[in-house]
């Protein structure tokens, strides 16, 4: 679980079955287990109206747990980027009564929510559950480039190379934490880099 932090930092809950006509689950890696656990609390036939989109990730595990749910559709994608066109199309064609469930890493939840927001879905209506890595997506406030899977504090911007303090300040619109130059006032000060987002 993520530690208590400032108000803009997202907080995640536990997935729970919502009233609705159609249920869209998006998960990566250990997020599959959150869906499987929720299934134990779901009414019979719930997954008959559900589509699960799953990014197994580098370890390729947990697919069997999702197959066992017998959802109307189970789609696997190799990466979030590869999933984007399909997700945008699904959300653009969605009707009232669609419920959205996001489970897995912060990066997955954040990026899926970003696409949902662009499609006009209110963020408070989305179910989320964090599982797995605490690695962060970070936007460099200086060059605006996004660095994926940041695990250290401070972190180097993959685009402009500045050494950045990874803040807890988070933008849903950008789906990223803010990175601000940590030694702007004196570039000769190089604080030690620690692995803290795991």
């Amino acid at each position: 679980m993520a530690a208590k932090s400032i108000i803009s930092r997202p907080v995640y809950g536990t997935l729970s079955p919502q009233p609705g006509k159609h249920h869209l689950f998006i998960a990566d890696a250990e997020g599959a287990l959150a869906i499987a656990e929720m299934a134990g609390r779901a009414p019979p036939g719930f997954f008959g109206d559900a589509e699960i989109v799953f990014i197994p990730g580098p370890h390729g595990k947990h697919t069997a747990a999702l197959e066992a749910l017998k959802s109307a559709q189970l789609h696997q994608a190799p990466s979030f980027a590869s999933l984007l066109p399909r997700l945008r199309q699904t959300l653009a064609n969605a009707h009232m009564g669609l419920r959205l469930y996001l489970a897995g890493t912060e990066g997955l939840i954040g990026q899926a929510m970003q696409v949902a927001l662009e499609a006009g879905i209110d963020h408070t209506s989305i179910q989320t559950e964090h599982r797995g890595s605490l690695a962060r997506r970070m936007q460099c406030v200086h060059c605006k480039g996004i660095t994926e899977n940041v695990t250290t504090q401070p972190a180097t911007c993959a685009h402009c190379g500045l050494l950045l303090l990874v803040r807890d300040h988070y933008s849903r619109r950008i789906a990223a934490f803010q990175g601000v130059c940590i030694n702007a006032e004196d570039r000769s000060e190089i604080p030690p880099m620690e692995e803290i987002f795991r």
Binding site: I6, I7, S8, R9, Q139, V141, H142, K144, L162, R167, D168, H169, S171, R172, R173, I174, Q178, V180, C181, A184, E185, D186, R187
Partner: protein
């Protein structure tokens, strides 16, 4: 008699300064010898002649130079001015407000004439004379918010009101004290204030939001906020922090008077009539320590405020690196005598 606009810069050679009359009208933000957060909001009503409150939208001797600096910032970084798609109507509300207020307060410099939806706006200091159709964006060279805020001192945030909250959904932000519109746009009141230390725990933002969501049309409110800036630099954005941050390491006991500036924000809050949004102008005033020290009461009081500021606040305001040099410099102007009540100079 109109304002004599100064030719000056807020970057590179930093020729900005205040005339003696402008020093005396500076909105000094401390009414006592100490500072802590408070919901210091009051009705925004016209104040004494010769003060920054003489008009509800203040135009001063720095107007032309500030607008030139804004144009430079926007050319370098267009993301400083953004408006989410549902905010265009609020932009027209703001255009009306700023044209009306500037024409009302400074008729020798600004003229607004209206014939139904056909409006003519003359801005003499900037050499602008435009006729356009109110509500028709195609008749202006920019969107309505950008058009008028390229001609108005201060940053502007337009807040949408929904779900009992305020949402930062549009803004022109080029003179900010270290926050990013590009990052914060779309956030609600609590989210964009999230990095501010101590104030959440004191319930400041809950009370402030309650007040702001109840602001009525024609009854604007205001508050002062402050920080400090090294060199008279308007653009102290996080985007450019790696460029201006090194200035903070250049303060020495010898150059405090010239380099260190008190930066005061006169923030006001106005209900917009058509969109029901709130516009939040953040007007920035700068004064260097040498200028401030011409008013002995202000120097004494500022010494005590900066010396006794909690470390967490000093850190948030970015003072930590040069606070010792500043306090030392100010201490020589503080004989320990009492300061009179209120903000103004003696």
């Amino acid at each position: 008699m109109g304002i004599t606009f100064r030719k000056e810069t807020f970057r590179d050679d930093f020729t900005f300064k205040n005339s003696p009359e402008h020093i005396r009208r500076f909105p000094f933000p401390f009414h006592e010898d100490a500072y802590m957060y408070a919901v210091n909001i009051e009705p925004h009503v016209v104040g004494p002649r010769g003060s920054v409150l003489e008009n509800l939208i203040d135009v001063d001797e720095h107007y032309v130079a500030e607008m030139q600096d804004r144009a430079l910032v926007l050319a370098e970084d267009p993301l400083r001015c953004q408006s989410l798609p549902h905010m265009t109507l609020a932009g027209w509300d703001l255009l009306e407000l700023l044209m009306e207020q500037q024409a009302l307060g400074y008729p020798e410099h600004f003229t607004l004439t209206r014939d139904g939806d056909r409006w003519r706006w003359i801005n003499r200091p900037l050499g602008i004379d435009d006729t356009f159709t109110f509500g028709d964006t195609s008749t202006l060279p920019y969107g309505p918010m950008e058009y008028i805020t390229r001609q108005s001192q201060g940053d502007f945030c337009i807040l949408d009101q929904r779900d009992g909250n305020l949402w930062m959904d549009a803004g022109m932000v080029t003179t900010q004290a270290d926050w990013s519109l590009d990052f914060d746009i779309g956030m609600n009141f609590f989210e964009w204030h999230a990095p501010v230390p101590l104030a959440h725990e004191k319930g400041i933002f809950v009370r402030a939001l309650k007040f702001l969501t109840n602001i009525q049309q024609g009854k604007p409110a205001r508050r002062l906020n402050w920080t400090m800036t090294i060199n008279p630099r308007l653009d102290t954005s996080p985007e450019n922090y790696h460029k201006w941050g090194p200035d903070r390491a250049t303060v020495t006991p010898e150059n405090v008077g010239d380099k260190v500036h008190l930066r005061v924000e006169l923030q006001s809050f106005w209900r917009l009539p058509r969109s029901n949004g709130i516009v939040f102008p953040i007007r920035c005033y700068l004064i260097k320590m040498d200028e401030l020290a011409t008013q002995p009461k202000w120097a004494r009081r500022l010494h005590r405020v900066i010396r006794d500021l909690p470390d967490e606040l000093a850190n948030y305001k970015g003072l930590t690196r040069y606070r010792p040099a500043l306090v030392e410099w100010l201490s020589k102007l503080d004989d320990g005598s009492a300061t009179s009540q209120g903000f103004g100079p003696d």
